[in-house]
């Protein structure tokens, strides 16, 4: 089938989202560049929800456009995760941008670039071709660079952006260099054809195939911030506006996982045994380094960066230990849990740090007396991130743990448990501040605006419900044949 008689309707959600993002951009022009524009924020959330509905409607049957752009349950679930994640980030941003301190941000541009980032991530998880994948990745990356530097008169924000551009550009070059050898060896950029050719090529050109794999691992590893490619994350997370930090640590990271699964399982699936151990070692280093360095942090956003690095390590464990649909089940379930608990935590962090004007851990002092609901919700998110029972984080972690044990990588499972226990220390540092310290003298009762209330409540509900009844989504996931587009 050529591209001309392909079934283009499979791309409906992407096309609609692109059109809506341009519409948001145009409305921004027509209403002047300065000033508060809450209606554009609402329109953006609405656009994302409309796209999410379209994803459910059009992506429920598998198919592909010339085997370049594919639609399968894997793409559908990751697209929903991305869209819901970005919608919640925009709800957080609406409150963030309303504040006097952030009046310098051009709101219309901010929202439309956020929508374009979501579009890039959607194209990324739907691609089965190196070129499509690269374009999706760059739409997401370039949008993220701009978003990180959106407070252009703020020194930390611009510094974070330039660090992100330089290191992100280098990571893209690594990915491309790896891809160029894959293309050279197979004469094709289609992941399917590469996947078929790899086992034979590996016999003949072991060195080149492994080099190409490692270059791509380094580049993608940068995007999902795994050790030793994580050095950018704390700096960028600290400097970027807080809602953008939430975006980077959730949407950008999960889209990166989507693409790692697609490329490594589809493209390099034939030589799984050769690289699984490398991933296992990197997962172990990531969990250890992320959790130990987090212990020393006093800045909330840096602490969440290292916590995010450690979480990426947990998510990498099933990639190394479980092949096929069961492994993807684990990763997707933990991704949903991670999305909800991290965004919930970031909603609270945005409110608190913006209210007190500092992102030091002490800004959480006495939060229970200032806003009891927020303090209790935050406790649930932190407990879930740490992986204690009755939360989605616990179920996800337990599932991954048993997968690692069944995959005969007991050492990795043990490292996972030990580092999780270490993570209790820094997560409980938060809880201690919230419940056992008195508020600072000038801090009064904290008002919770509606949009924040929505994000916190939705995250809280999903985190608890998935912790008690994980079967609700796991039963659906079990019926999926994740990568079934051909």
């Amino acid at each position: 089938m050529t591209a001309f008689d392909a079934n283009w309707s499979l791309m409906t959600p992407e096309i609609v989202l692109a059109a809506l993002a341009l519409l948001v951009f145009t409305i921004d022009f027509m209403t002047g560049i300065h000033g508060k524009k809450p209606f554009i924020g609402r329109l953006s959330v609405l656009s994302l929800l409309v796209t999410a509905v379209l994803v459910v409607v059009t992506n429920s049957t598998s198919g592909s456009i010339a085997e370049v752009f594919v639609v399968d349950p894997f793409a559908m679930v990751f697209k929903l995760i991305i869209l819901i994640g970005v919608a919640m980030v925009i709800l957080i941003s609406m409150n963030f941008l309303d504040r006097e301190r952030n009046a310098e941000v051009y709101q219309g541009e901010y929202y439309s670039i956020m929508l374009f980032a979501a579009l890039g991530a959607m194209i990324m998880v739907s691609s089965a071709d190196l070129i499509t994948l690269f374009i999706g990745l760059e739409i997401l990356s370039i949008s993220s660079y701009v978003l990180a530097g959106f407070k252009k008169y703020s020194r930390p924000s611009t510094e974070a952006a330039i660090k992100y551009v330089v290191l992100g550009g280098t990571a893209s070059a690594f990915i491309l260099y790896g891809m160029s050898f894959l293309y050279g060896l197979t004469g094709s950029t289609s992941l399917l054809e590469i996947g078929q050719a790899i086992p034979m090529l590996f016999e003949e050109y072991t060195f080149v195939v492994m080099m190409s794999f490692l270059f791509m691992l380094a580049g993608f590893g940068f995007k999902i911030s795994i050790v030793p490619f994580h050095m950018w994350a704390p700096d960028v997370y600290e400097g970027a506006p807080t809602p953008v930090t939430a975006f980077l640590s959730v949407v950008s990271k999960l889209a990166g996982f989507g693409i790692i699964l697609r490329v490594f399982f589809l493209g390099f699936g034939g030589v799984y045994q050769e690289w699984a151990f490398i991933i296992a070692v990197i997962a172990a280093i990531t969990m250890i380094a992320g959790n130990f360095i987090a212990l020393t942090q006093t800045n909330v956003k840096r602490l969440m960066a290292y916590s995010g690095i450690a979480q990426a390590g947990y998510l990498l464990v099933p990639v190394a230990t479980v092949v096929g649909d069961v492994g993807i089940n684990m990763i997707v379930f933990y991704s949903v849990a991670y999305l909800m608990m991290t965004l919930g935590a970031f909603a609270v962090i945005t409110l608190v740090t913006e209210d007190t004007g500092t992102s030091d851990l002490s800004s959480f002092a006495g939060l229970y007396q200032r806003a009891p609901y927020l303090a209790i919700a935050m406790t649930v998110f932190l407990v879930s991130l740490a992986g204690l029972p009755l939360t989605a984080g616990f179920i996800g972690k337990a599932y991954i743990f048993f997968g690692a044990v069944a995959g005969e990588m007991l050492w990795l499972a043990i490292i996972m448990i030990v580092t999780s226990v270490i993570s209790f220390f820094y997560y409980f540092g938060f809880i201690k501040q919230m419940f056992m310290t008195d508020p600072r003298p000038n801090d009064k009762e904290l008002a919770v605006p509606g949009s924040m209330q929505t994000v916190v409540t939705v995250s809280l509900a999903v985190t608890v419900i998935l912790g008690i009844l994980p079967g609700l989504v796991l039963d659906i996931f079990n019926t999926f044949n994740w990568m079934a587009f051909f």
Binding site: I135, E138, K152, P156, T158, S180, L185, G187, P234
Partner: protein
């Protein structure tokens, strides 16, 4: 005819020069140029494979066009951020931008 390995060696050398530049140069414009150097080494790879590789076909050249386009977009955003940074700090020396660390 020049064998494909010569082009690959050239690309590898360019990639290493670019990476060395990104890691060591202090001037941010030079750093951005070094990133372009790395991306161009990829282009040489792709075009070489596309013309005289074991499976020579047009796809590599198409890929190259996409890489060039994206590199231009990335450079534009990079320079824009550079200007914002310069306005805030009056310097584009890498060493001086140390607000965010450990």
């Amino acid at each position: 005819m020049v064998p494909v390995t010569f082009f690959l060696a050239l690309a590898a050398i360019l990639f290493c020069i670019g990476l060395y530049g990104v890691l060591t140069r202090r001037h941010l414009v030079i750093v951005l140029v070094c990133i372009e150097l790395m991306l161009n080494s990829v282009n040489i790879n792709l075009v070489a494979f596309s013309a005289i590789g074991p499976f020579a076909n047009i796809t590599g050249q198409v890929f190259t066009l996409f890489v060039i386009t994206v590199a231009a977009a990335e450079a534009a955003v990079g320079l824009a951020i550079l200007i914002a940074l310069y306005r805030n700090r009056n310097s584009i020396d890498v060493i001086k931008h140390d607000l965010l660390r450990w």
